[in-house]
């Protein structure tokens, strides 16, 4: 039920007029830096052009980060003793609104350039060989926490279902209205997991039950939860925060 309510709320927030309004006010309202105005002698705040240039540079930064990314360089791993036990809930809504998903009836849909698109059950995923990692989750805000995740490497899964690994993007759709996407190189990275456990326990509701994507080579918001669909494609699917001006690649 809360899932449906959430959807309603998100649909309203995503109304084109609201998004357009947000886009146009995105820089203007925050740009009260007098120094900049004085420096340039013009009011840079009153310009969608500035927004456009900044987003252009952000796309250039995507390319630089893809170039910096080593497909086999592993994120540092930590000891059990270094794990942060007060892990945070993160979403664009409060924790009480997190979707309640029934694992038995949950299905993972597959879409796009994948040979075998039959949906997967949680039991099937649990039956695959599992890996675990203790890595640092780095939030775009700057804080970070060390946690332990376990599950199926996404690359292994993609190969098993016959995904076209020469495609450019892998997109994720979530039960809470969230979405995200990543480059194929990162999707195939050995530490990119379809996480089914957190701290050696079944993934809790607040961290994305029944499955989240754990990608220790990207910022936290690139780790979507409550996954209901994975798609492989050549056009960039974008994502919730990515469409709101946050850098798409967001590699770390």
């Amino acid at each position: 039920m809360s899932l449906i309510k959430n959807h309603k709320r998100i649909v309203m927030a995503d109304h084109p007029a609201v998004r357009d309004l947000e886009r146009r006010h995105f820089l203007r309202q925050g740009l009260s830096l007098g120094a900049l105005t004085l420096l340039t002698g013009c009011d840079v705040t009153d310009s969608d052009a500035v927004d456009g240039v900044l987003r252009g540079i952000s796309r250039w930064n995507d390319r630089v980060q893809a170039w910096l990314f080593h497909p086999n360089k592993l994120a540092p791993t930590f000891a059990e003793s270094e794990i942060d036990h007060n892990f945070r809930f993160n979403a664009f809504y409060p924790e009480s609104k997190a979707p309640v998903i029934d694992g038995a009836s949950w299905r993972l849909r597959l879409d796009g350039k994948i040979a075998d698109k039959r949906p997967w059950t949680l039991a099937q995923l649990n039956a695959m060989q599992q890996e675990s990692q203790i890595t640092r989750h780095v939030c775009v805000e700057g804080w970070s926490k060390i946690g332990k995740w376990g599950g199926v490497p996404l690359g292994r899964f993609l190969r098993q279902v016959g995904a076209d690994t020469s495609a450019k993007y892998v997109g994720f759709t979530c039960a809470d209205g969230y979405s995200s996407s990543m480059d194929m190189a990162t999707a195939l990275h050995p530490q990119t997991l379809m996480a089914l456990t957190f701290a050696d326990q079944t993934l809790p509701r607040k961290f994305g039950y029944p499955m989240k994507i754990r990608v220790p080579t990207k910022l936290g918001f690139k780790n979507p939860k409550f996954i209901v669909e994975i798609s492989v494609r050549d056009d960039n699917p974008g994502g919730y925060w990515e469409d709101r001006g946050y850098n798409w690649f967001s590699g770390i």
Binding site: I10, A13, D14, V18, L21, E22, H25, F26, L27, Q29, G30, L31, S32, L33, G34, A35, L36, L39, D51, V53, L54, R55, I57, S58, N61, L68, F69, H70, K73, A75, P76, F92, Y93, R136, V138, C139, V140, E141, G142, W143, S144, P216, T217, W241, R244, G245, Y246, N247, G251, I252
Partner: protein, 230 residues
């Protein structure tokens, strides 16, 4: 031209070559953008028990964004930060390579000794410090070396927190992600302090400003001779 009379005979010479001026103003703009957006980014996850007033930060708008869809609203600050990063990188790389290759650093930043700094501090306090164009006292030299080191530290610690996986060796050099973040913060404090002193001194001796724009200024002949003899 009272200064010129006080300084004795002068000659109009190039004080700051074009490359130095371009790098100086490029860095000046980049640092303001980096600090303004950096304060905004800091505010979203403060390291310490305070935040910067929103009015002096750059990019994003927390409260309207929050009301619309819970966006913490600082995507704009991140866009500014990682755009200005390139300007800062270009200006610093240009300045450092020119300074090292052309001998500009050796000529303008050396010699430098604790004794020389102490002498010039004493001279400054007693009002006997040489403020003529073309003369760089040892306090200035120390300050500029610190500023250059500060910018390099900011670029490196910034890279360490931007890429703690791909550049994990660099991050480890800074003592890990959390330490690198604190170093990046304190480096910012150092640069802000430098800016205050730098702008303060420029306000006290305003004749140093035009040459940083036009490149040229009237330098006393005896200063030029002393330079040639070095």
């Amino acid at each position: 031209m009272s200064h010129d009379q006080a300084d004795g005979p002068t000659r109009l010479v190039t004080i700051h070559p074009l490359i130095v001026r371009l790098c100086h103003w490029g860095n000046a703009i980049a640092i303001l953008l980096m600090i303004g957006s950096g304060w905004k980014i800091y505010n979203n996850a403060p390291l310490f028990g305070f935040t910067f007033p929103a009015g002096i930060t750059l990019g994003g708008s927390p409260s309207p964004a929050w009301h619309r869809h819970g966006d913490i609203g600082y995507a704009g600050a991140l866009l500014w930060h990682f755009a200005a990063m390139w300007l800062m990188f270009a200006a610093s790389a240009g300045y450092l390579s020119y300074g090292l290759i052309s001998g500009h650093f050796r000529k303008t930043l050396l010699p430098l000794s604790p004794k020389g700094v102490a002498r010039d501090v004493a001279d400054a306090i007693t009002g006997r410090l040489d403020h003529r164009l073309g003369v760089r006292n040892q306090v200035q030299r120390l300050l500029y070396i610190a500023a250059i080191a500060g910018i390099v530290l900011m670029l490196l610690s910034g890279l360490a927190i931007w890429k703690p996986v791909q550049l994990q060796e660099l991050t480890a050099l800074f003592g890990g992600y959390d330490n690198a973040r604190e170093i990046h913060f304190f480096g910012m404090c150092g640069l802000v302090l430098f800016l205050v002193v730098h702008l303060g001194l420029t306000a006290l001796v305003p004749k140093v400003l035009p040459p940083m724009i036009t490149g040229r200024g009237h330098v006393p002949l005896d200063v030029l001779e002393a330079e040639g003899g070095r």
